[in-house]
């Protein structure tokens, strides 16, 4: 004790420390203090455990898929406040090694602030907070500091999954058990989820090369993860390779892919994807890897020296059956008839529901109801009875649309189309050439008027770009909620913005064909309600019609 005091006194009087050093130290202490409360120590019983990080006040936390892979529907989570919380599995992304769990029992959890991970630079200070070697039995997380060693790194899949694309490489110690924990910047903001490290002959311990899934990738998948669905990653349906002159060119392409139908061909040079320049094969894999299956994103190519802008829809990497198998255990199985779910602990029974294709269907209902509430808010400002929309076409001529509970019709200069609402829609992709404009409008009205729960099989699909044509991957990516409805023989996805307005509808009358794509533009300034200013309809990249609505026609028979 005397020796300790002596040393302290010595430092106090003997060393002149540059104020810059002291400030840096104080800043680091502050950053760690800021980040630590959101750190989660995950204990998954016999299957081990890992780390996590809280993202929302109501307890949604990110972790790695491989941390919860064998844990079943429930894990136990500890926070630095010294308390243990029951947590339930919400959603998984096996390919991207992400998962979301929800901690139960509070609505005021401490959360991490997410930063723009594309701004991270090599040489930046960073620190990892987690539960290495499951040391956090006292629930106090471990902190390891370092610098960013590399950005936009590509790490090949381990087996068929756990591909780390566009990841952040750090020399902060990432050890077994750190998986799923947060990587923070010098200000204590979340820039990634630690999940992988290079191990070699020194054994499974840190050797100065750890990898974190970028926060911006997490953003893209968060909607899907919160939907409880088994999330999948994206493929263009094409392979790329480096040409002799260094260009990245299409070396193989599936003719069944959307990219092929949009015009992508062998030897086309890839210039950019989702707003990110592509100069190497890895850069292509990096941007593809941060995008969920099903998103529609811009693809810029160059052919014969001429630049072309395409809008492509990304396919899933895995079939639903394969994804369910990757999800592990029996997560994808239907519950046995009449049987209880003996493996679901009592603590999470009310927030867990098994269903094929889902990690936890309960949260899909929760999210669908949330979107439904937004749609319901808009419904009050819309006509109670039939919806009548009139106006002119951008290409000339006039149109009239009438949507009622029983029938729907559209008058165009080219003719009139009518369908009965209780018909099968897949036989009526009306008007001809639209791919299904009329059924899409019917579906829109039904979702708003009846609510998603009443329309066929409607699930919360996740999130997707509000404006696919101008989408650019990054922290400021503008995403909207997406509902997916299987109804009357068609499948449709509807983008719904935060105010409850439907901003786009894609409707497929056959699973392998091109959907009818509606893009709804809403009047600026009008908080909610009314009718859109215009509806743009296209199919297979071919514009069908742009409908400019008369403002006065918005309300025919007000409630």
């Amino acid at each position: 004790m005397a020796a300790v005091m002596m040393a302290a006194a010595t430092i106090a009087i003997g060393v002149e420390v540059d104020p810059v050093v002291l400030e840096a130290q104080q800043a680091r202490i502050e950053a760690i203090r800021r980040a630590t409360p959101a750190a989660v120590s995950i204990f998954a019983g016999e299957s081990g455990g890992g780390s996590g990080v809280l993202l929302t006040r109501d307890g949604f936390a990110a972790t790695n898929f491989h941390v919860v892979q064998s844990a079943g529907p429930a894990v136990t989570c500890g926070l630095a406040d010294g308390r243990l919380y029951d947590a339930v599995l919400v959603g998984i992304d096996p390919t991207g090694d992400l998962a979301v769990v929800r901690l139960l029992g509070r609505d005021d959890f401490p959360v991490a602030e997410m930063a723009d991970s594309d701004r991270v630079q090599v040489g930046d200070e960073c620190f990892a907070i987690g539960n290495p070697f499951l040391l956090g039995t006292d629930l106090q997380p471990s902190v390891s500091a370092g610098i960013v060693s590399g950005v936009h790194r590509y790490q090949f899949p381990a087996g068929t999954i756990l591909e780390y694309t566009d990841c952040i490489q750090v020399d902060a110690a990432i050890n077994p058990g750190n998986s799923g924990g947060g990587l923070f910047d010098a200000a204590g903001r979340l820039i990634g989820i630690n999940g992988r490290a290079s191990f070699e002959k020194r054994g499974r311990v840190n050797v100065g090369a750890g990898y974190a899934i970028s926060a911006n990738q997490v953003r893209n998948f968060l909607g899907g993860l919160r939907s409880g669905r088994l999330c999948d990653h994206a493929t263009l349906g094409a392979r790329v390779a480096t040409a002799v002159d260094g260009r990245v060119v299409v070396s193989d392409i599936l003719e069944s892919s959307d990219a092929w139908r949009r015009g992508l061909r062998y030897d086309d040079e890839i210039v950019s994807l989702a707003g990110r320049p592509v100069r190497t094969v890895n850069a292509f894999k990096n941007v593809l890897g941060i995008l969920p299956a099903g998103w529609q994103v811009p693809l810029v190519i160059r052919r014969d020296g001429r630049r072309q802008d395409l809008l492509v829809r990304l396919h899933g990497v895995h079939s639903p059956a394969k994804l369910a198998a990757l999800a592990g255990g029996d997560a994808g199985d239907e519950p046995r008839a009449g049987g209880d779910e003996p493996k679901v602990p009592a603590a999470v029974r009310e927030v867990y529901e098994r269903r094929a294709g889902f990690a936890n269907h309960h949260f899909n209902v929760v999210e669908r109801d949330r979107v439904a509430a937004g749609l319901a808010a808009v419904r009050d400002s819309l006509p109670d009875g039939p919806w009548v929309m009139e106006g002119r076409l951008a290409a000339g001529g006039e149109f009239r649309i009438e949507l009622s509970d029983a029938t729907a019709s559209i008058d165009l200069p080219t003719g009139t189309s009518t369908l009965a609402v209780d018909d099968e829609f897949d036989r009526q992709p009306l008007p001809p050439g639209s791919g299904g404009l009329l059924p899409a409008l019917v579906l829109w009205r039904r979702l708003v008027v009846e609510g998603p729960a009443a329309v066929g099989q409607t699930i919360f699909w996740g999130t997707a770009p509000r404006q696919p044509a101008t989408f650019a991957a990054g922290a400021s990516a503008d995403l909207v909620d997406v509902l997916e409805s299987a109804v009357a023989g068609v499948v449709a996805r509807c983008g719904v913005d935060a105010s409850g307005r439907v901003v786009w509808i894609d409707l497929w009358t056959s699973p392998d064909g091109d959907p009818c794509e509606l893009r709804l533009t809403w009047p600026v300034g009008d908080a909610a309600g009314g009718m859109p200013a215009s509806i743009d309809a296209s199919c297979g990249g071919e514009p069908f019609a742009t409908l400019l609505l008369d403002a006065a026609a918005a309300v025919e028979s007000p409630r």
Binding site: M5, M6, A7, A9, T10, I11, A12, I13, G14, V15, E16, V17, D18, V20, V21, A24, Q121, V122, G123, D124, G146, I147, V148, S149, G150, H152, R153, Q155, Q169, D171, S198, E200, K201, R202, N206, V207, G208, A209, T242, G246, R279, T280, N282
Partner: protein, 346 residues
């Protein structure tokens, strides 16, 4: 409290009365990292099997394409490729090697390259450094080399071994307090907080004393001295040095003469009284695995046996009359214990 301080503390005060940190006018670590990485190249050559990577790092020493790296089996290739920080790929010529320092100098046909600026003096223990290298081959093409941060822990002579052999270099090294000597890292740069090149990350070696993997770098004065020796023609071809220090003869095994590209490792003869005889090896056995790892040629077999550390068990698998026979030859003797002299051979 200060008044009550014992007298002996005064001496400590004097020792500690230094100014810690003078970072105010130093360039940002981001800038230092980016600048240092421009002078580091990714080198690709021979290898690709487990424990023998086909890639390493190098440092650009002159704008006209002189590159320093470590001497290794990666360079034992007809085509050595160097990929610059900007993604440009060049085929390199091996100018020469320094066997003692295990250095090599390569040359690429380029001009106006961003050469590293060596520090003029040796650094002292406690110096904060960045290590920039082709760590684990993570970065490819124009992706920037990996950057790690740490401190020079001490500056001491190297006492190390690789496999069974003592490392030939016993001069001074910077011992680093962070894990720098990983696959792909050897040949990488260690720079100070101003970006001055202090040293080159050395080959993956274990401490002679404890067997632990070392994290170290060759000081720049040694690197430059080695490069000058090579330029002056002091080097010698790497194949001489690559000969394994421990051979099958020590176990009493004579393989068929190495006449083909990939001579199958048939046993020609087994020396009487040797470990091989005791283990039941016989002539005409075909050696297929060493320590459970397949060997497809005489060269591979010699290399695999040569890599077994002294004292580790020697386990050979052979095919005899169409069946696999495992032979345990006991612990590997040290090179000095050539218990079965060659002259005893028939």
């Amino acid at each position: 409290m200060i008044a009550k301080m014992p007298l002996c503390a005064a001496a400590i005060v004097a020792l500690l009365a230094v100014r810690i940190g003078s970072a105010a006018d130093a360039p940002s670590p981001q800038l230092v990292a980016a600048t240092a990485a421009r002078s580091v190249v990714k080198i690709y050559g021979a290898g690709g099997v487990r424990g023998l990577e086909a890639y390493q790092s190098g440092i650009i020493l002159s704008p006209d394409g002189r590159i320093a790296t470590v001497m290794s089996t990666v360079l034992d290739s007809e085509g050595i490729d160097c990929v610059l920080d900007d993604g440009r790929r060049f085929e390199a010529t091996l100018v020469g090697v320094d066997l003692r320092r295990e250095l090599a100098v390569l040359s690429i046909d380029a001009t106006d390259l961003p050469a590293a600026v060596p520090a003029e003096e040796r650094a002292a223990a406690g110096t904060r450094v960045l290590a920039v290298s082709n760590l684990f081959g993570v970065a490819v093409g124009d992706e920037r080399a990996s950057v790690q941060r740490g401190v020079i822990a001490t500056v001491v002579p190297l006492e190390a071994r690789r496999g069974a052999a003592d490392a030939p270099y016993t001069g001074t090294v910077y011992v680093l307090d962070f894990t720098t000597n990983n696959p792909g890292s050897p040949g990488g740069a260690v720079v100070d907080s101003r970006g001055r090149l202090l040293g080159m990350i050395g080959k993956e070696l274990r401490s002679s004393a404890g067997g632990i993997w070392l994290n170290y770098a060759l000081p720049m004065d040694e690197v430059l001295a080695g490069c000058e020796a090579i330029a002056a023609g002091g080097g010698s071809p790497p194949l001489v040095a690559a000969a394994p220090p421990f051979d099958l003869g020590l176990l009493g095994i004579v393989l068929v003469p190495d006449l083909l590209d990939r001579t199958p490792p048939f046993v020609e003869a087994v020396l009487p009284g040797s470990a091989a005889t005791r283990a039941g090896l016989a002539s005409d056995d075909l050696l297929i695995a060493v320590g459970g790892r397949a060997v497809g040629s005489r060269t591979a077999a010699e290399r695999a046996v040569g890599a077994i550390p002294a004292g580790d068990p020697v386990q050979l698998s052979v095919i005899r009359d169409g069946t696999v026979v495992d032979c345990d030859l006991g612990p590997r003797p040290a090179a000095a214990e050539r218990s079965t002299p060659q002259e005893a051979a028939p």
